[in-house]
Amino acid sequence: MRRSIVITAAVGLTMALAACGGGSGSGDEETTGAEETTEAGESAGTLTIWADEFRAAALTDIVAQFEEDKGVTVEIVEKNFDDIRPEFITQAPTGEGPDIIVGAHDWAGELVTDGLVSPVELGDVAADFAEVAVSAFTYEGSVYGVPYGIENVALVRNNALASDTPATFDELIAQGEATGAEYPVLIQMGEEGDAFHMYPLQTSFGAPVFATDESGSYIPELALGGAEGTAFAEYLASIGQAGSGVLDTAITGDIAREAFANGESPYIITGPWNIAPFTDAGVDLTVLPIPSAGGQPAAPFVGVQGFYVSAHSENGILANEFLVNYAATEDVQVAMYETGGRIPALTAAAEAVGDDPVAAGFTAAGEIGVPMPSLPQMNSVWAFWGVTEANLVSGVATDPAADWATMVENIQGAIDAA
C-alpha cells in the first residue's frame, strides 16, 4: 500500500509544480482573451524592436513618448548590428521574431525574396524624405522600409597638412606626396579588398556595377566590364604595390583610421562613422567631394538605414503607427544623427543639422551618389569584386585587363547560379 501512496505523492507534487508553471501562461491568456478573434492575444499591445546599441539609445525617448500616448509596451532588444539580419531571417518565420528591425537598405532584396518584410505605405510622409532614401528602400516597385539615415563616403582632409584640394585624383596624390606625410592618401582595403570604398574611383572611369534605366534605378545587367572597367583595373594596378605604391592591401580599416588620426596622411576616403575618432584625436578636418580619377564624376555608393516591419508581425497597426507617426519625425531623426553620425533621411531633419560643416560635406559628396544595389546576389558580387581589386593592388594579378574580365565572368556566373 505504501508504494501507491508514494507514487500518488510524486504525481501530486509534479502536478502541483506543473500547475504553478502553467498558471502564469493561462493567466496571460485570460488578461487579453476578451476577444476570441485575437489570434496571438499575448502579444497585443507589445511592440518588439531589434536595434543595435546606438540606435537603441537614440530611440529611448520617442519610445517612452509612444508608450505614454498609446498605452502600450515597447520592448527594444539590443543586438549586434551584423546579427540582426541572419537572426531575423531564421526567427521571423517561426512567429517568434520582432515586429520591427533596424537595418540597412541593401538587406531589402534578401528579406523581400524570403517574404519576411511587409511593404510600408509612407503616404504623404514620403515626400518629406530625401528621394534617394525612399528609392533605396524600394524593391520591385514597393517601399519596404522607413528610412532614417543616409551615409556615403567622402574625401576627408587634414587641414594641418593640406589645403586647396585639386580637382583630379592624380594631382591629389602628387600633392599628398609633396607634403612628406607617410601616406599621400588613405583608402582602406585589406587583403580581401574593399569595393565599397574604392567605388568612387571606379565610377569616375564610367564603370558602375549595374546599368541603370532612365529613372536612375538599377537594372540587373552588369556594367563594370568593358573598356571603362579595364581602364579602372589598369589604374588600380598602376597605383598599387607594384606601381606607385599609393594603395596597399595591408591598409585595413583600423590601420587607415589610426594613421589618419595620427596625422600620417593629409587625405582619407571614409564615411561619417569615422569622424568621431578623428575629432577626438584633435584633427582639424574638412569633408569634400572625391576628386575624379578617370575624368567622370566620382560617385560614391549611398547606403540608407531604416526600419523594416516584419511580415509575420501580429502588431502591424502598432508598428506602422510607430514608424510613420513617431520615428519619421524631425526630433527622432536628429537624435539618431547625434548618436550615429548618419545624415537624417528626413529633409527637415537634414536641414536642422545642415549648419554642421561635416554633415554638409558628406551631403555634398553624396549628391551624385547612387544607392548600393540591394539585389540578394550582391553578396557574391562584393566577394569577387573586393578580392580582384586586392589582387590588382597587391600585384598578384599581373594582367589587369584579363583579371578584370574573369571577375566579371565569375560575378555573372554567381548571379546566374543563384
Partner: protein, 544 residues
C-alpha cells in the same frame, strides 16, 4: 525485521506488513535493498529531483503545445514517461545509469545529425525560407500596390452591431462606411470632428485599444467600392486609408496564383516556387524536399567541382600535418622534460602549456596581426621591415597556418604524452638496458609502441578536430589568399568546412540545404577515417 534494520535508518512511519515482506524478499533474493521505493533520505532526494524534472518536462510540453510544436511535445512526453518508469522501477538498474547519457546522446548528437540530414534534402535558403502558406501571403502582399496618385483618406475603424469590422472614411467631405461584405455607402448623418469620423449611424467606432486587439483582422480587411474595379481601401495604421489594387489572386482550390492584369497563371512547380508557363517565377518561394539535388550539385556544378579537389587535398594535408607536427613536438618536449636531469621541470611544463589556455579564435586573430605583411610585429620588428607575405602568398600562408596550429596544438600533445610516458614502467627500460639496447632502440621498440597504445585514439580525435578546424582558418587567413579567377570565392588555405561556409553563406544567397549536405559529406568522411583509424589501433595493442 533484520532486512529493515539494514536498510531503513530513518524514523519513517512503520511499514505495512506486506511492504516489510517485500523488502525481506528483496533482501533475501539479491542481498541488497533497492532505493527505488524505500522511504530513505536518498529516496526523498530522488523524489525531489524527479519532481523538478517532471515539472520542467511538463512546462516544456505545455509551451510546445501552445506554439504547436508537436514533435517536441511528443518526444518530451516519451522522455518523461521513460524517466519516471526507469527511476521508479525496481528492475531497471542498468538503465538508471545509462539513461541520462542516452538522453544527451539523443538531444545533442542524434537530433542534430538527423535535423542536418533533413535540411540537406530540402532547398532551404534565400527565397525558400518558410512554408507555402507564408509564401502565398508574401507574394500577394508584395503585389498589392497603392493606386498611383490616389489620395489618402482619414479613416476610422468601425464595427457593426453583430461584430463585423468595417471602415468609415472621409472622401471630399462626405463620410463613406462599409465592411468587407458591404461596399462603401454614403452615411450623411455621421459626425466628423477635426477631419476624423467620430460617429456613424449603424456602426460603433472602435477605440485605439480595441483596434490593437484585432490588428491582424484590421490590416487584412479590404473594403471595396460599389464599382469593384476601382480597388479597395485598406489601412496600415488604423487612422489613414489608401486605395489599393491587388495584381495577384490566389485560388485555394487549384493552388494557383493568377495575375489579373496580364492573365498569367502561376502554378506550383514542385520545386517550391510558383511558376508561369514562360518559366518566370514569383519572387517568394517555400521550402520543399528536393531529394539528392544538394548532394549531386557538389559534383555536377562546375563552379564547385573545380576548387573542390584542391580544397579537399589541402584539408587532408592540413589535418595530417597538424597532427604530425604537434604530436612530434609535444612528444619530443615531453621526453626531454621527463628526464630527471632537467631542472625546474614543473615550472617549464606549466609555461609550455600556456598556449593551450588561450581561446583558439583569439590566438588566430592575434597571429593574423603579428604576421601582417607591412605592420606585423614579426616583419616589422623581428625581421627589420622585410615585407614577407606570410598570409598572402599561397605557400607561405599554408606554412603560417601549420605553424600557428603547431603553436596552438603542441601543449595538448605535450600534456598527454607526458601523462602516457609516466605510466610506462621503468622496469621495461632497465630490462632493455641490460639487454644492451641504445637510446634510439629503446625509443623505437619500447617507448613509442607503448605510447601509441594509449595515444592513438587521441591522435585520431585530433585529426577529426583539425579536419574541421574552422576557427583557425577563419580568423587567421579567412581562407585566403583566394585562388585568382576561381568561380567561387575560396582560397589556398580554405579547408572543407570553411569552403562550406564561404559557398553557402558568403557568396551570394544563403543556401542552408547545400551547406547541410556538404556538412553531412564531411561527417561521413571524418567518420570513415576515424573508424579505419580505430580499427588499426587494435593492432597496436598486440605489439607487446
Amino acid at each position: 525485521m533484520k532486512g529493515r534494520d539494514a536498510a531503513d535508518t530513518t524514523d519513517a512511519p512503520p511499514p505495512s506488513p506486506d511492504e516489510v515482506a517485500a523488502a525481506e524478499r528483496a533482501a533475501a533474493g539479491r542481498g541488497t535493498t533497492s532505493h527505488a521505493r524505500e522511504m530513505g533520505p536518498y529516496f526523498v532526494v530522488k523524489l525531489v529531483l524527479l519532481a523538478l524534472i517532471d515539472a520542467f518536462g511538463l512546462f516544456v510540453i505545455f509551451s510546445s503545445w501552445q506554439v504547436e510544436h508537436w514533435g517536441i511535445l511528443a518526444s518530451m512526453v516519451a522522455i518523461l514517461v521513460v524517466v519516471n518508469w526507469v527511476y521508479f522501477s525496481r528492475r531497471m538498474i542498468a538503465a538508471k545509469y545509462l539513461f541520462p547519457g542516452l538522453v544527451f546522446l539523443l538531444v545533442y548528437q542524434l537530433f542534430t545529425m538527423g535535423y542536418t540530414a533533413y535540411i540537406s534534402f530540402t532547398n532551404y535558403g534565400t527565397g525558400h525560407n518558410a512554408t507555402r502558406e507564408d509564401a502565398v501571403a508574401a507574394n500577394l502582399a508584395q503585389n498589392e500596390s497603392r493606386v498611383p496618385d490616389s489620395p489618402s483618406y482619414p479613416l476610422t475603424v468601425v464595427t457593426t452591431p453583430d461584430g463585423e469590422l468595417g471602415f468609415a472614411i472621409v472622401d471630399d467631405g462626405e463620410v463613406l462606411a462599409g465592411t468587407a461584405e458591404q461596399p462603401f455607402e454614403e452615411s450623411p448623418d455621421a459626425t466628423v470632428a477635426d477631419g476624423d469620423v467620430t460617429e456613424v449611424p449603424g456602426y460603433d467606432v472602435l477605440s485605439f485599444a480595441q483596434i490593437l486587439e484585432q490588428q491582424n483582422e484590421i490590416t487584412n480587411l479590404r473594403v471595396g467600392f460599389a464599382d469593384a474595379d476601382e480597388g479597395s481601401i485598406r489601412t496600415q495604421d488604423g487612422s489613414t486609408g489608401y486605395l489599393y489594387r491587388s495584381v495577384l489572386t490566389y485560388d485555394e482550390a487549384t493552388g494557383a496564383i493568377t495575375n489579373t492584369d496580364t492573365g498569367v497563371v502561376y502554378t506550383d512547380n514542385g520545386e517550391g516556387s510558383f511558376q508561369a508557363e514562360d518559366g518566370s517565377t514569383l519572387l517568394v518561394g517555400w521550402r520543399v524536399a528536393v531529394g539528392f539535388d544538394n548532394y549531386t550539385a557538389m559534383f555536377t556544378d562546375s563552379r564547385l567541382s573545380g576548387p573542390f579537389l584542391s580544397v579537399l587535398a589541402w584539408t587532408f594535408a592540413f589535418a595530417i600535418l597538424s597532427v604530425g607536427t604537434t604530436f612530434f613536438l609535444g612528444l619530443f618536449l615531453a621526453i626531454v622534460f621527463n628526464h630527471p636531469a632537467v631542472r625546474g621541470r614543473r615550472v617549464i611544463r606549466s609555461l609550455l602549456i600556456l598556449p593551450y589556455a588561450f581561446p583558439g579564435f583569439l590566438s588566430g586573430l592575434v597571429w593574423a596581426g603579428l604576421l601582417n605583411r607591412r605592420f606585423g610585429f614579426i616583419n616589422e620588428v623581428l625581421l627589420g621591415g622585410a615585407e614577407i607575405p606570410w598570409l598572402t602568398d599561397p605557400w607561405l600562408a599554408k606554412l603560417s597556418v601549420i605553424g600557428v596550429n603547431l603553436w596552438l596544438g603542441f601543449p595538448y600533445m605535450f600534456l598527454i604524452a607526458t601523462g602516457a610516458l609516466q605510466a610506462i614502467s621503468t622496469d621495461m627500460y632497465e630490462a632493455a638496458r641490460i639487454d644492451g639496447a641504445g637510446a634510439g632502440r629503446v625509443f623505437r621498440s619500447i617507448t613509442l609502441p607503448l605510447l601509441m597504445i594509449s595515444l592513438a585514439p587521441l591522435l585520431i580525435a585530433s585529426f577529426a578536430f583539425n579536419f574541421n578546424n574552422f576557427n583557425l582558418i577563419f580568423f587567421l587567413t579567412e581562407g585566403g589568399p583566394n585562388f585568382p579567377g576561381s568561380p567561387i570565392a575560396v582560397g589556398a588555405t580554405d579547408i572543407l568546412i570553411s569552403m562550406v561556409y564561404s559557398v553557402a553563406f558568403e557568396s551570394g544567397t544563403q543556401q542552408f540545404g547545400l551547406a547541410s549536405a556538404m556538412a553531412i559529406m564531411i561527417f561521413i568522411m571524418v567518420g570513415v577515417i576515424s573508424w579505419l583509424g580505430f580499427r588499426q589501433t587494435h593492432k597496436l595493442e598486440e605489439v607487446i
